[in-house]
């Protein structure tokens, strides 16, 4: 029995992000959070005084949403610090849509900012300088002694398994990077804007076999926010709403060694849930934003979300189906591979999906996009969340 009570009940009504072709942003994480919240609210024609639901999963202290609300000077009646890595924000949208549909909050803000690139250069932390977690985590005991390069090593294991089981090739994985980069050539805000070839990908340094450098996402600064409210209120606001038509979440493990099957992710659960709620199928998706931490991530998710059968992802992507003009235009911002990737990319999937549905994407606009999919992946293929958005015509 599919529960349709949430379908179209809530909408994303405001979006904003902060990125730079240099990969670096000025300002503190808090300053960036405030900036994108302000801009996303302005995009919606709302103010901070309207906000009564807050979603944040990172921060310097022990309680992300609590501390951010204090900083913002708001007293939300819905609060959520769910942290599943890069998919956190898709899960936040699902939770926000649920809360809004039940009347538990009216205007929800989902926000994220991180500056790993400039922090690392300043010597104040950032990527590669993470403090060890206190206490014997399972990862410290059972994985870290073997010094797998993280996170790429975990994804490399999945890629090795997919190649072994299905004959997937390095060239097929590279095609995903090539097509994503083609989209980035049309985005003047992307970190990497020069086109690349399959040969470029294969010639780039091996990071963890079989994944090359150009199979791997960027490390940049970045920030993003989305604002949600009820569909009813959305229709009174500045921009056309992106209705939340379907949502699904499933997490299967935290460590890669605990993943039940390296070639099937929780997206095989979250995707069908989202499609069932939306009353749609993969064939109905006009534009897809599919978490591209690594090329293998996209390949696995295309299969699990039902765009092609399990094991056939390599052949599916080989003819440029994801590229401009392809049957499934995907990661149209340039994705985590070429646009930006501050550690958790999920918020940018949502922002780009909404911009595509509004027709705001300029040269990279997918004509007539009415239904968009944003799929987040967190951890090491651990936490999956699928969001299907639609224009007013899909209500």
């Amino acid at each position: 029995m599919v529960d349709r009570t949430m379908r179209g009940a809530a909408a994303i009504v405001g979006v904003a992000d902060a990125v730079s072709p240099t990969g670096e942003l000025e300002g503190s994480v808090r300053a960036l959070e405030v900036q994108v919240i302000r801009e996303a609210l302005a995009d919606a024609g709302l103010t901070i005084a309207d906000v009564d639901g807050l979603f944040s999963c990172t921060g310097p202290g022990w309680a992300a949403s609590l501390e951010l609300a204090e900083y913002l000077g708001i007293a939300p009646r819905w609060t959520d610090s769910t942290q599943t890595g890069g998919s956190s924000f898709e899960i936040h949208v699902q939770h926000a849509a649920a809360a809004i549909s039940l009347g538990l909050c009216d205007v929800a803000v989902v926000v994220y900012a991180a500056t790993p690139r400039s922090s690392f250069k300043r010597g104040t932390g950032g990527f590669g300088s993470r403090q060890a977690l206190p206490g014997p985590t399972p990862s410290a005991e059972w994985e870290q002694p073997y010094a797998m390069r993280m996170p790429m090593g975990a994804y490399a294991l999945a890629a090795s398994r997919h190649m072994h089981e299905f004959g997937t090739t390095a060239e097929q994985l590279a095609q995903i990077a090539v097509d994503t980069r083609t989209w980035a050539t049309m985005n003047p805000r992307a970190r990497l804007q020069d086109p690349i070839t399959i040969e470029d990908v294969l010639a780039s340094p091996m990071q963890a076999s079989p994944l090359h450098k150009l199979d791997c996402c960027l490390v940049t600064d970045g920030a993003g926010a989305v604002v949600l409210t009820s569909a009813e209120r959305a229709r009174t606001l500045r921009k056309p709403p992106a209705l939340v038509l379907g949502t699904g979440t499933c997490h299967t493990h935290a460590m890669i060694s605990e993943m039940p099957d390296l070639t099937t992710t929780g997206a095989a659960v979250s995707g069908p849930l989202a499609f069932a709620e939306a009353g749609l199928t993969p064939a109905d998706i006009d534009v897809a934003q599919i978490y591209d931490s690594f090329t293998i991530t996209v390949l696995l998710l295309l299969e699990d979300l039902g765009f092609c059968p399990k094991g056939e992802g390599g052949a599916f992507v080989a003819d440029g189906v994801l590229a401009p003009g392809g049957a499934l235009p995907s990661n149209t911002s340039g994705g985590g591979l070429a646009y930006t990737h501050p550690g958790m990319f999920g918020i940018f999937l949502l922002v780009e999906a909404v911009r595509q549905l509004r027709g705001e994407c300029g040269p990279r606009q997918v004509e007539g996009a009415e239904v968009a999919l944003a799929h987040g992946s967190g951890g090491v293929l651990s936490a999956m969340s699928t969001i299907i958005l639609g224009t007013e015509a899909t209500a």
Binding site: E141, Q144, P145, Y146, A147, M148, L157, S257
Partner: protein, 149 residues
């Protein structure tokens, strides 16, 4: 039972990141002092469990015990690291990280290493048969690794 295969770290290599010991896993690490691979089992489910836990992840039961493992396995997935994954691995790259399926029915992350002392990463592919070997740790424990064959 044949003598355990002990493969020391390369000369001059720094210590690996040392695995901490959690309360549930103490018998596992104690057994490594004598190069014995033991795996936790749930006596109620008759299922092997890895990593060791305070309760069985199938039934949440606590009737658990450690039993000797066969010490063999099959490579489920593998990746070669061309550069160290952390500073403790300086001088060791390239090396191979694997997921190994043990015949007891559990999977563990580990490394396949060369048994001939030569330089370079071990040659290993998905599906290869492997057997356990041991790298001495600074505190007298041993880290289970694998060799082909």
């Amino acid at each position: 039972m044949s003598d355990p295969l002990i493969i020391p770290a390369p000369d001059g290599a720094p210590d690996r990141q040392q695995p901490p010991v959690s309360s549930a896993s103490e018998p596992f690490w104690e057994a490594t002092r004598t190069c014995s691979l033991v795996i936790q089992w749930c006596r109620s489910c008759e299922r092997a469990i890895h990593f060791p836990r305070e309760a069985c992840p199938s039934c949440l039961g606590t009737d658990l015990e450690f039993r000797p493992a066969a010490g063999t396995g099959t490579v489920f997935a593998c990746s070669e690291m061309p550069a160290p994954g952390n500073p403790g691995m300086k001088g060791r790259a390239p090396y191979v990280v694997v997921l190994v399926d043990l015949p007891e029915g559990v999977r563990m992350l580990s490394s396949v290493v060369r048994s001939d002392g030569a330089e370079g990463a071990a040659e290993v592919a998905v599906g290869d048969s492997v057997r356990v070997a041991w790298e001495p740790l600074a505190d007298g424990r041993h880290l289970p690794v694998f060799v082909r064959g």
